[in-house]
């Protein structure tokens, strides 16, 4: 198979290949241009956008753990107005899918961002971040309670025609129920997983290593948990899934796709190597060619449970 078909889809969103950047790990995507042509990616998921600009959390915001990274950025971003004025026009010129990550402290804040984004060209979908562990109000509360999560998604659904990706929190007892509820409420896709809530302590000062005490754990450490959740949700619901969490290599991405992800998001890997998303896309292509698999769609959810 010389030219396997990398194209894939996440519900209504068509993608030229299954590799996206994860929200908050590649800025607005534009920052990767010095390293490669970002039109080579399936898409870009932007840093979270909130109604007003946010300065984010006090430092320290980062702590490295074994094969993992704890972060507590606190949704620092330029705000809706600046996103529309300064950033979206640049993204519109690039031939790749742009998915805007939306966050807020209250339902109204989510809705304000969604309405502000409405009617703009060049937005392939919205990723509704109901799972950020680093914001005091809102954020995680919406995601961990299936009822609240569904209520929010329902309102967002009513407010926009963009395809909706609900980004769920992994810090829950039953990810399947939440996934089911947000799909019933009108989401087209679920995004799994956001960071695991974690903590580290400096034993010399006895202080937490992050100013906000706890933070979100990403990187290879969390991959087994992320894969398990993608697998559980796919087996139970067979819905479109944007999978991610600890993807560093093409093989990692393939694990997610085999478990049922229609596309994958690459985050922390970018910090080791800004070209990681491109290398992963190319690696997936080689795998398909080597194994004589016609296209990525043949692989999605093809786990052999016999």
């Amino acid at each position: 198979m010389n030219n396997p078909d990398l194209s894939t889809g996440l519900g209504p969103i068509e993608l030229k290949n299954p590799v996206l950047t994860a929200s908050g790990t590649a800025g607005y995507g534009l920052e990767l241009r010095p390293f490669f042509d970002i039109a080579e990616l399936g898409g870009i998921v932007t840093k979270a956008v909130t109604p007003e600009p946010r300065v984010g959390n006090p430092p320290p915001r980062l702590w490295e753990t074994s094969c993992g990274l704890l972060n507590s950025i606190g949704l620092e971003n330029v705000g809706l107005a600046a996103f529309l004025k300064d950033i979206l026009p640049l993204l519109q010129k690039i031939n790749t899918r742009v998915i805007v990550n939306v966050a807020g402290r209250t339902e109204d804040e989510y809705l304000e961002v969604v309405r502000g984004l409405n009617g703009n060209e060049g937005i392939a979908g919205l990723e509704i971040n109901i799972s950020c562990p680093n914001v005091k109000q809102g954020g995680i509360a919406f995601g961990t309670d299936p009822v609240m999560a569904a209520a929010l998604i329902k309102k967002v659904r009513a407010a926009t025609d963009y395809p909706l990706i609900a980004k769920l929190p992994p810090n829950v007892t039953d990810i399947v129920i939440i996934a089911e509820r947000v799909m019933e409420a009108g989401a087209d896709v679920v995004s799994l997983i956001n960071t695991l809530k974690g903590l580290a302590v400096d034993v010399n000062t006895r202080k937490p290593c992050l100013a906000t005490i706890t933070g979100g754990l990403s990187g290879p450490a969390i991959k087994p948990v992320a894969l398990r959740m993608v697998h559980e949700v796919y087996q139970a619901l067979k819905i479109p899934i944007l999978g991610g969490g600890g993807i560093m290599t093409a093989d990692d991405a393939l694990e997610f796709i085999i478990c049922g992800a229609g596309a994958v998001s690459v985050g922390t890997a970018i910090f080791r190597d800004p070209k990681a998303p491109l290398n992963i896309a190319q690696g997936i292509k080689s795998y398909l060619a080597k194994n004589n698999i016609g296209g990525i769609r043949n692989l999605i959810g093809s786990i052999d449970l016999s």
Binding site: T25, F35, R61, L62, E76, G219, R272, P274
Partner: protein, 265 residues
């Protein structure tokens, strides 16, 4: 700003836990400027997961080489210290905003604290050769560390401008105390620009000095980093004026002393 597989030409133990790493990295060397830094990928596995930031101790554009002077403090630097000449190392850089040496600079003070000297070494060489009133200072924990860093090796630092925490060499006390004395003695007619790199308490003292004597000061900061090129928003340092945070990797690591709030970093 690019990633390059560099070749380790030398990784020399200088004693006191300090090592000098010389890399063949022509593409990075070509773009590098004083005060900028690189991110080194120390492990091909994921522990440590992130690259580690180091500034340019030396840049040799003609030979396509860069040097990094580093101190072993944890897992990453420990692993780095065991690498041998001939091995490869992924270098990502040059990154950030370096020192600005204005062409009409009249006088300058250099203040290096501990391994922070690494960021200043190249500027020391440059300024020493210029026809200006230039005074370097260096502080370290003890004589052994002073020797390992080799601050005054190629171009000497006057012994009176050296301080150690334990008094084993030079002045017994903080380097900024020496600096202040010198400002009072020597700089009556010109306002020197300060270039400084060192531990946070030293930089705070430099901020205070610069404020008191109304001097320009460029200080090079450190922060925990993930990406090193502005996408993770992790390496925040509070802005002194207005709300919000600079990113050390992108807006720095060199800042004007009055731009940043060092109480928390």
């Amino acid at each position: 700003m690019l990633a390059e597989q560099a070749k380790i030409l030398e990784n020399r133990d200088r004693g006191a836990g300090v090592f000098l790493l010389k890399l063949g990295s022509p593409l990075v060397a070509r773009q590098a400027r004083v005060g900028q830094f690189v991110q080194l990928l120390i492990s091909e596995n994921y522990d440590p997961l992130l690259r580690r930031p180091f500034c340019f101790y030396n840049i040799d554009q003609d030979n396509g080489q860069i040097e990094v002077l580093y101190q072993v403090v944890g897992t990453g630097t420990e692993l780095l210290s065991r690498k041998k000449a001939g091995e490869k190392l992924s270098v990502f850089g040059p990154l950030g905003r370096g020192f600005e040496i204005e062409p009409d600079l009249e006088s300058a003070i250099l203040i290096g604290g501990g391994i922070g000297w690494a960021a200043l070494n190249k500027i020391h060489h440059k300024l020493a050769l210029r026809d200006i009133h230039y005074v370097p200072f260096f502080g370290a924990r003890d004589l052994g560390f002073y020797q390992a860093i080799g601050a005054g090796e190629v171009i000497p630092i006057p012994p009176g401008n050296i301080a150690t925490d334990d008094g084993s060499y030079g002045y017994h006390g903080f380097i900024t105390e020496l600096v202040e004395a010198k400002i009072n003695e020597e700089f009556h007619f010109s306002k020197p620009t300060i270039f400084a790199c060192g531990p946070n308490p030293m930089l705070k003292a430099v901020q205070a000095l610069a404020g008191k004597y109304d001097l320009k000061a460029q200080i090079s900061l450190e922060a925990r980093m993930a990406c090193g090129f502005g996408v993770c928003l992790g390496c925040a340092v509070k802005k002194a004026h207005g709300e919000g945070y600079f990113k050390v990797c992108h807006d720095g690591p060199v800042f004007n002393a009055d731009e940043v709030e060092l109480s928390k970093i």
